[in-house]
Subunit: 298 residues, 5 copies
């Protein structure tokens, strides 16, 4: 028989920092946890969800995982929670800092209770979303400011990388929002009534996060439109340069070619022939420039 993990923070809270640990089976057997939920713990990643079972609640929470490489895709880690009448079980893969912070807040509390600890855990997880959202907002504003100046492929790559992260974040935050919403409705008396405003507060944060993620994505779509129109505009500019230069040059090429013909040319013998040719060239150039000026091309 596997020994149970030590309760934390002076309350019956059992933390299983390794989801493969046999201690989880022991706890499941003792508290009659459902085998499918144990399986869910052992096969991350799961979708954020809340299941009410006879006498307890099972929740899969999604925690933001900081990656060493910055600027890459978001990573989320599963934190599984079983909230029974007098027991709290948390299962994860070594999210030590999260457990410590939750444990600290529990110990600072006058009357530690497992439901309150569950709220602390939830609050810690959701609090970590805020700085991420700020980063995404900054990145979005930066891109929007820069895209008109530098409509080049690296900018495009940045736009799509950010879009991918916003889609991912919106998906997970939306799932967490549904979990907290379900928790407020189907708590079965497992959460004290005094926690209701706190849960609503967490819910509010999540609603706002989802809201903002969608707004940023909307704005990002605008950035892509700017990109495309900036490229179209630049092509237009390039074409104009080519057209103006080409159209100025063509009459000159024809005139010089004309006087280069090995035929009997009228001005060939005249000492002022070159003067006339030069005058013709100047005239044709001025005519073309006047034409483009009137078209408003430069």
């Amino acid at each position: 028989m596997t020994p149970l993990p030590q309760p934390l923070a002076g309350i019956p809270w059992y933390d299983v920092p390794d989801y493969n640990s046999p201690a989880l089976d022991e706890l499941a057997r003792k508290l009659s946890l459902h085998e499918l939920q144990i399986e869910d713990c052992r096969h991350p990643p799961q979708r954020a969800k809340l299941e009410d079972h006879e006498g307890y609640i099972f929740a899969v929470l999604k925690r933001l995982r900081r990656d060493p490489e910055p600027g890459h895709d978001l990573k989320f880690a599963d934190v599984d929670v079983f909230l029974c009448k007098d027991t709290l079980i948390t299962v994860h893969s070594g999210e030590r800092d999260l457990v410590e912070r939750t444990s600290k807040r529990t110990q600072e509390c006058a009357q530690p209770r497992v439901d309150r600890t569950f709220y602390y855990l939830l609050d810690c997880i959701v609090d970590e979303y805020i700085p991420l959202l700020d980063t995404l907002a900054e990145e979005s504003a930066e891109i929007e400011a820069a895209v008109l100046e530098h409509p080049d492929p690296p900018m495009l790559r940045r736009i799509f990388a950010l879009k991918r992260r916003l889609i991912e974040f919106r998906r997970v935050a939306g799932g967490m929002r549904d979990v907290v919403n379900a928790l407020m409705r189907i708590e079965q008396g497992l959460m004290g009534d005094d926690l209701d405003p706190y849960l609503r507060d967490v819910y509010d944060h999540l609603v706002r996060s989802v809201d903002l993620a969608e707004t940023y994505r909307d704005l990002l779509t605008g950035a892509l439109d700017i990109y495309l129109s900036a490229v179209a505009n630049r092509t237009n500019q390039v074409m104009k340069v080519l057209t103006v230069y080409g159209t100025v040059a063509l009459p000159l090429i024809i005139i010089t070619g004309y006087f280069g013909m090995n035929l009997h040319l009228p001005l060939q013998e005249s000492p002022h022939g070159l003067l006339y040719a030069n005058g013709l060239m100047a005239l044709s150039t001025l005519a073309v420039l006047y034409y483009f000026r009137r078209k408003g091309w430069f």
Copy 2:
């Protein structure tokens, strides 16, 4: 013990013009306001929301803030309201004009009541949305009229700046609409029945505002499409100019080059050689122009 602020307008309305003031704590203690809501007051910006608590209602309202610099992004300021049975508390960061206008309407009233004052406050806030909407509508109409004439990057920047403001306005006005809707449903007897038509009137204004914001955004998307097609069209025009000029010039260049060859040319010795060459050139030019005319290019 901090002294309470003086009641305003002859009714138990306490206005806290600085959300960091200790007077807020004092009021919270006296009226048992929830600590999370006090925290919300102190950490603007919050999402517009309405929370019913035992015996009172807490609302976060979003007021439009005029910025000195015109044409920039919208700014909204939080106005927090606690409506208890016989007391009204408003918390904000120095929105003096709003408080004055509300106070004036309260004093003009025959029987001043806190719920009526709450309505006046709401009405003042929502009334400020109308001129903004008019500005947005004008800007939108202006852009649509101008975009076909000047499809250039500054126009693009104007389109996206307006779109951003419409998204922002729609988000806040939508939140306010939900607040008023919730207020009509869950007032707990805190609002007199005689105010029902007035609340519905405010609700109506907000529904219409959201409606219009969405219509303007729809039309703006059309303006972007005009922009893109105008750029595409202009590129097409530029290409045509280049193509017509280039195609007229090419035969002339070939003909002059032909007669410039240092070979035994048949017309080289003839005094009418140049005449034939000139005729050939005129013919080729006419042929090319006829071809493009038939294609309908000019």
Copy 3:
């Protein structure tokens, strides 16, 4: 004391053809109409809406206003209705023809009743939508047929003008649909049961109108796509012409230039030099044309 307007069509129907008239205040006082609704009457345009008040129904209906200038944006006029137990009040700004038509139908009726007159009014207003929809449908079909032939900026302007009108019509017709729907649900016994199928008929017309407006808009989006791809296609055609002509000309220019060099050329002295040069030019032209033919460019 202002005299009340004369009842129309032999039933207690009071028509106020000027919303600023003091007769409206008199009626409001006599029938205890709510001040906000009187204000709504006096500040058109309002959103189409239906409000049930103690003992009466207040409705804002949107009538299509014919403008002298054809082809411009839609204009709608407010027609406000108060339906009390035994009284009907209509407020508007001089919609004489509408009142006349409604009055005529009421008088043709065996047993004139105010609720039936309300239905007649509604029916007259909605009937005017049909020819407008037909115009929009025709315009939409015309545009779709013409856009592939003439993808030019005036066409674009027509597309967006029509889109704007469809958005506007859809918004108003959708509002009217909701009004009739609300009327069927919350009539408070003010409308006789025998009118139910008639109201459902009007509702049906409005549902169909909204439906069609959305279908036309969908098709119009298709027309814009045609426009954009026709412009892209034309640019492609222009490029091809330039490329084919340019690529045919380049070898000829090089060959004539080659034989124009002031160097010792092998064929310079030969009397058949020109023949060889001509042959070379014909060959190069054929090679280029063969290459483009194989590419399927013409």
Copy 4:
């Protein structure tokens, strides 16, 4: 007094093959059918709909009409049905084949009943949708296969013609689905319970049809995207050809021009001058080709 039409198939089923026939008035009078519904019968096309009236059901069904010209827009014909307790009335404009097929199935039935005949009629109408859907699916697949090869205006016209037909079909099939759904809910005991699975079967067919129409439309949008990107790609190809040829030719034109100048050229007198010039030209051509090869352009 107009004689009633003969009952069909041995049951009280009255078929009115001409909606202007006075027999319809006679039936309406005898069975107290509502005048608005008779009007609906006489003013096709109506939206598909189901109305329950005291004692009977009125349904507008949409039948697919085969047109002689293939490939054109869809045409639907109204088939109006009144299902009373013991009588069935069908009104249409000469849909003889439909009535015959329904009549045949009724006669093959052991115990013919009017509700069952109504189901047969419905089933016949919906069965005709299937081959149309197959045609639309084939056309959609064909277009998707061909669009990458031939991104030309006729293809565009095919795409939009098909899209228009899918929008139309989806709108009508969606209306029919709602009719059958309403029929299952509000049959008022007019349809025998044994028909429930059969109605559900028809409903299922319609749900699937709407589903498929939307899927095809989704795929068609993809085809349009392919079209646009194929055109963009082709323009890119054309540009590359022009650029490569032009850039190869330019140095050659400059070199031949250089040696064509009437100045004292160093190689002018040398018998190997041409050799050097030729070498220079070959070198420049190789350099340009090497440059484009490294850029991966061919």
Copy 5:
């Protein structure tokens, strides 16, 4: 009389591996299965659906069919199930491996029951979706990585083939999700309560699959946008190359042409004439390059 198929796995489970088999009629007659459902079995493919009939449930499940050719469209096969009180009937077209796996899991069970076997079947079918989703995710990631490097037509074809598969998968998985959802609600006591968490688990898998399919499709739309902007960008690059080369060459062509004229040129007789011409050419080239450098074109 056709012999019934042998019951499988020691429980009353009758498997009909050929939907045309007369054994199906025999079973239908014996257990009073509805004829329409038997028809559904015999006319695959049907939409995934669940129908509750008096005393039994009929379900159409969609199984993923592996095709020998990889990379092609998805194929699904119908598996029809009748779950009666004490009997399970499965109908399909030779899905031998699926039946074997289900049978094996049933036999490993301590107390085999038909409802549990139904769950096993469902679970086996849904489990097969996971590797497909993984393949789709990999393909999507691959495309997104490659599209910026190779924005060519084959890439476009890959994007649209994947999009087609995602649309198809989403449609079927969405249907299966609705089936399991309906099963949880309307099981009529045919499924033991102990199976509830298991069904919810399957439901969860399907919700997640639909969710992911939509996310991948969203990202794929991004890949298409990358494609289009990469093509636009490349055209821009090509244009720049042409413009820079052309604009460098044009002055040189004019200068060499100028000195090639058969007129009295000032430097014609000078031995340093060529030097001046060369200097002029170098200068013009440097001027053009400096101009483009300042424009930031290379």
